[in-house]
């Protein structure tokens, strides 16, 4: 049986080395082997054969950031569960009540973001709030203003 820490982690180290070798070898071989023919059209971003439009480094929906932040919040909770689970049998009901308190607090936040629509991907808060005015809206508002001045 492996006793020391070095003996425990040695196989893992070798495995990581192997994995890195295989991955590096694959990527390198893919780039090096094979005929190279370069032309401008081939180097374009692929958009189903059409000429690419716009920029791929656009700003994207804030929802993705929101999910990232929510994940951090709740993942901390999830990580906290592991040490708790390992010593659970020693603490029994006490640990259970402590965790219920913790989870209820977390779930209160969860309920809040749920009801606030942070988890709803069908419509965003901003799309409701900042609907750009249409031409008709602008014309109507102008006319109203003129009418009001008279």
């Amino acid at each position: 049986m492996p006793e020391s820490l070095a003996q425990q982690y040695f196989p893992l180290l070798v495995q990581i080395l192997l994995a890195v070798l295989v991955a590096g070898g694959m990527v390198a071989a893919g780039l090096l082997i094979g005929k190279k023919v370069k032309n401008r059209v081939k180097e374009m971003p692929y958009e189903c054969g059409m000429t690419p439009t716009g920029n791929a480094r656009e700003r994207f929906s804030v929802k993705f950031y929101l999910v990232g932040m929510l994940f951090i919040l709740f993942d901390i909770e999830a990580v906290f569960l592991f040490p708790w689970a390992v010593v659970f049998r020693e603490l029994k009901l006490f640990a259970w009540f402590e965790m219920v308190t913790f989870v209820v607090l977390i779930l209160a936040g969860f309920f809040y973001i749920w009801k606030k629509g942070a988890l709803d991907w069908t419509q965003t808060e901003t799309s409701k709030a900042h609907k750009p005015p249409t031409a008709l809206d602008l014309m109507l508002s102008d006319e109203l203003e003129v009418a009001g001045r008279r």
Binding site: P11, A23, G34, K35, F60, A85, W96
Partner: protein, 398 residues
Amino acid sequence: MDFFLVSLIKIVVVFGAFMTTLAYLQWVERKVLAHIQLRLGPQRVGPHGLLQPLADVIKLATKEGLIPANVNTFFYILAPFLAVSLALISIAVIPFGPEIELFGVRTNLELTSLNIGVLLILAISSVGVYGIALGGWASNNKYSLMGGLRSSAQMISYELPMTIALATPLLVLNTLDLRQIAERQGGGWFWNWTAFSYPPLLFIAFIVFLISAFAETNRVPFDLPEAENELVAGFHTEYSSLAFAGFFMAEYANMVTITCVSTTIFLGGWHPPFPAPYSNFVPTALFWFFGGVLLFHGLTQPARRWDRFTFPAFGVISLGLGAIFLLAATVLPIIGQILLPVFWFVAKVGLLLFLFIWVRGTLPRFRYDQLMRFTWTFLFPVALGCLLLTGLGVALFG
């Protein structure tokens, strides 16, 4: 014998087997999908397309490794590298069988037994998202960007229920060492496995874990990152050659790893579903049954010309395997101690892998808002509720 030498031998064997599995999983998937859809699948290269993986590798390797203009070259190359290398690491802490003694050497049937095994797997699987996210972002392609973003959001969202569902059996097992986890489920019938203790709580946790595992590996019905009818191929649209193959390999490697983890934690690892003296003959019975079926079909009603030769050949191989297992179970315990646990482990992993393929052949894809709503408003609360109820159960009756 030297510990390091034994380790190296084990690593070579495991790594070889693992890579072969990855190569042939692709073949199995295509075959199974084909049969679900009443097709034949790969048939040309070798008997029943058995050499197809090799042909694929040669084909992909000889293709041009294209680096399109305006990509972020460093991250573009780093992404498949990360995806592959991270996917191949976790297998090191999976136990395939008990401690064995071979020629006076005592060793475990696994590469290494770490007291933080579960955490290591979680850590590596959560870093795995970087490969896909970076690949999608670096490609300078709108489809790739969308694929990468979707994938990041999806993987981190499903990681929550997965982590919680993984913590639930730990309440019963109270260790993070995968070897001890497997050992604590052994010795008797299948209801000692964690998936069946405190019914139905841990079985629900198991299902939650499996569903999240589908999403974590970007498999159908959660394959939105590569949804071909909207994103072409998502995050790997701009990849070609072996870098492209790398993403596929990573996906299969993740699939194998995650099924191995579910087997170890939920399904009793290498332990048979019922006690030892009887369960030892199950492999023989199974192999002989399949051998018989193959022989019968090949000799009496071959559907195609070559089946007359290939089916009986496979049948004989199967009968031979059955015989080897019979010997292992009766007179050669030195082989039996390796073969029988590994058989049960591989059988469980194989069943779960088949489930992955089966689902792919059966279910349509989610819409993105459905996908996110499903994990946040259903899986996450269910997993938490399950965890707390299990905790209560363990605290009161454990």
